[in-house]
Symmetry: C2
């Protein structure tokens, strides 16, 4: 073991440094793709230990890949054989919820679901939520600016974070942990660490903003015939529900037909003959008034001829059944095997046309290809799941080119929620200009001049030094 590792062991203690077989037994992505190849796996127990480790690594020019819950989907945590992994898994403390201030201070390794549960125990809510809640960590959520199911109402992770403590490449601790909503005292430094995928600093703690726990929930699935009506329905519902609209998930006909068609277990709450389906939900503070308002808004939409059919959930069971259709990604992946998944964002007016162009180009090249579309329409974010019958490298590249070039022409973005990591690096130019990418590199160079923090993620390290 070399000197650097000896010194690191001094800092983190014997249990804080894994080597050899113990590293190989770890993973660096999800789903796991073989063991972790890193040279060492470091598990500091405090911000001070993170600081000391980084200071040593920076002096030695040693690359460090930070690990949270590994639920990212773009290879942002992948480590090579010369890298060290720094995992926040031992730093998972959660302070007592401050119910008056409605904040909670947590260490970066705290698991999202645990934070949600503690907030709920205190009569509050941490609104960030998505499928991987049981593994994803707050530090990872911050580093990737995670999205999820509640963005339409509460925003992305960025909007849930009041303060961040982070360690810079050289070990400097930047502690901006004030739990206030308004703070116009110079640059808002926490923004540097939110969504920068561990390339500008390692997030060690954060102050999270909590919200009131909803007391009512109304859910419906509605059918709509064409895209223009879909846009008007979104606008009208958002207006009629006055700030309580909490989900607006759109299923294109291809998605709905496939899901209610491949199995009997979802039933068929609405006939699969309409153009679009919307799973709409509203949460509020007064059960009776909220129900009146929700049903009134749907009636208005019928009167305006925006929707042609609707089913309103009358019980938790019925609500869960409606959501199960939207969430049956497993069924989707089985029917469209082998699947390719895209997570794109673009203006609602461009969406219909975009989907049709991609579909045409796919069909032209792969007549047997299939694609379904769904997503968070209220956030301008749709997912495409498709299969061309192969995951051969050239085919994947060709599909990616079709999907991203059509998007670039419409000012869309190639990653709404998932980030760039390694997997989308080659396509960054479809969403960001040369000048934007150059400015990102200026920031990287200023904060991490030796390029030790998650190098080669987002853009290639050597492009920066060059």
């Amino acid at each position: 073991m070399n000197n650097l590792l000896e010194e690191i062991r001094e800092i983190v203690g014997p249990g804080g440094l894994l080597l050899g077989e113990e590293v190989a037994g770890r993973s660096d992505s999800w789903p796991p793709m073989g063991g972790c190849q890193a040279k060492a796996f470091i598990r500091p127990a405090s911000t001070l230990e993170v600081s000391k480790v980084l200071k040593l690594c920076n002096s030695a020019g040693q690359p460090v890949i930070t690990h949270g819950g590994l639920t990212g989907l773009v290879g942002g945590a992948r480590a090579g054989k010369d890298d060290f992994v720094l995992s926040l898994e031992r730093m998972n403390g959660i302070e007592a919820v401050d119910i008056i201030n409605r904040t909670v201070t947590v260490e970066a390794g705290a698991v999202l679901q645990r934070v949600q549960e503690l907030a709920e125990d205190a009569g509050l809510m941490f609104p960030l939520d998505f499928g991987a809640r049981g593994s994803a960590t707050i530090g990872g959520n911050i580093s990737t600016n995670a999205g999820g199911n509640s963005v339409i109402r509460y925003g992305m992770t960025r909007e849930q974070i009041l303060g961040v403590e982070a360690v810079l490449a050289d070990g400097t601790i930047i502690s901006s942990l004030k739990g206030v909503i308004k703070n116009n005292t110079g640059y808002d430094l926490k923004q540097l660490f939110i969504g920068s995928e561990g390339t500008l600093g390692i997030v060690t703690r954060a102050v999270l903003r909590l919200r009131p726990l909803p007391r009512s929930r109304n859910t419906a699935l509605v059918a709509i015939e064409d895209f223009p009506r879909l846009g008007r329905f979104l606008r009208d519902m958002d207006s009629a529900l006055g700030g309580t609209l909490s989900a607006f998930e759109v299923l294109w006909n291809d998605f709905y037909s496939l899901i209610v068609g491949y199995t009997d277990h979802h039933g068929q709450p609405l006939k699969p003959t309409h153009g679009f389906y919307v799973l709409i939900e509203s949460t509020g503070g007064n059960e009776e008034a909220d129900k009146t308002r929700f049903e009134g808004a749907l009636e208005e939409a019928f009167d305006q001829e925006l929707i042609v059919d609707a089913v309103i959930a009358q019980s938790k069971q019925q609500r869960d059944n409606l959501w199960a259709i939207r969430d049956d990604i497993e069924g989707l992946a089985k029917e469209l095997f082998p699947p390719m998944t895209f997570d794109v964002s673009l203006g609602i007016p461009q969406m219909d046309d975009y989907v049709e162009e991609v579909r045409e180009q796919l069909t032209e090249r792969w007549p047997d290809s299939r694609m379904v579309v769904f997503g968070h329409l209220g956030d301008g974010n749709i997912h495409l799941v498709l299969t061309v019958g192969s995951l051969e490298k050239n085919e994947v590249r060709a599909v990616e080119t079709i999907v991203y070039e059509a998007l670039g022409r419409r000012q869309g973005v190639i990653s709404a929620e998932h980030g760039i990591g390694l997997d989308k690096r080659a396509y960054l130019k479809h969403s960001r200009s040369t000048e934007e990418i150059a400015l990102m590199k200026t920031l990287k160079q200023a904060l991490d001049p030796k390029g030790i923090l998650n190098p080669d993620k987002i853009f290639e390290q050597e492009e920066i030094s060059a």
Copy 2:
């Protein structure tokens, strides 16, 4: 006229460059404090002109102070005799509102009120709002991350901005004008220009996020006896109103008594004998359901013994009268003459104790001093207006020291909404650590190595170069 100015005139045309008397006839702050001393006043008509001007100024090491609507309150636009002013006043275009996407793209010089009106004409709302709406520009709002009346519901300016176009010190145009809510493609560069007071780049255009126009509005003034009940009332109302709470303005007894006491024209909607008064408002999408919910929530608060008295506005006139009490800053300033005003942010649990400590220290040193307190409690932001009978420099410093040191001990921030500019520069250290300020300077050095953009604002330029 020297060469640099000749070249600039070539770029912006004769009407785009003011010199001598024409500059002296301009202002650089509000209220105006004598004429503008700058050497030249440049009025580019396009982003390209801004870029060309900055490129020249950067080569020459010529400082440039950007001007918007001049409604900032911390000296952020003040210019010395060797500075050039660059005003965005000719760049005030507003593109057509995109009603499906709910966005509008504007030039930085567009006046806030005009944007609000055009949004409303399109059946939508731009929620940023405050008293200076008739002069303040969107570019200024972005550069200062303006707050205002709607933060509790919609957030600060930062939350209203989807995309920004800005020009860097060297003339590089960074165009991040995508109108999408979700964009996780590398660093979120627009955050650099929001709230950095013109020191990192000049904002030239922006894509603004619009919201549904509310269809209902319910307003009440309520009386509360003690601070703990105030915190519980805020939490309960936010929960009961389920996302529709749009104002929660608290008046300490000293404020309310003074305003309803110095004149008859406000009447006395509630007796001036209670500890605290809250002006609470809820906006929604369904008149009947929203009224039921609002009144139900207040009844619940009575039952819980949180509030002891309340008056609900039954007409627009009554609502305006209640707001007039909150907004009578002019009356306040006359009664507390000469006034000093503070805009601070801190955790709600610390607030009561903080106000009492400041009050005691003031009274100890100036037995005849008077202070009133009010603010956006839901945002953790309160304003102190006080007088010690003098604005003599030493007295001001002594008051500032009392206010800011008591705040620093409670992890508060010295500027919730207004920024740092020149006037609060000496106190930045009460809100931000040495490491945070050093990181701000690293950013400044990376983006503006010659220090030409609004130098000496937020921190002293020579500290950076040193």
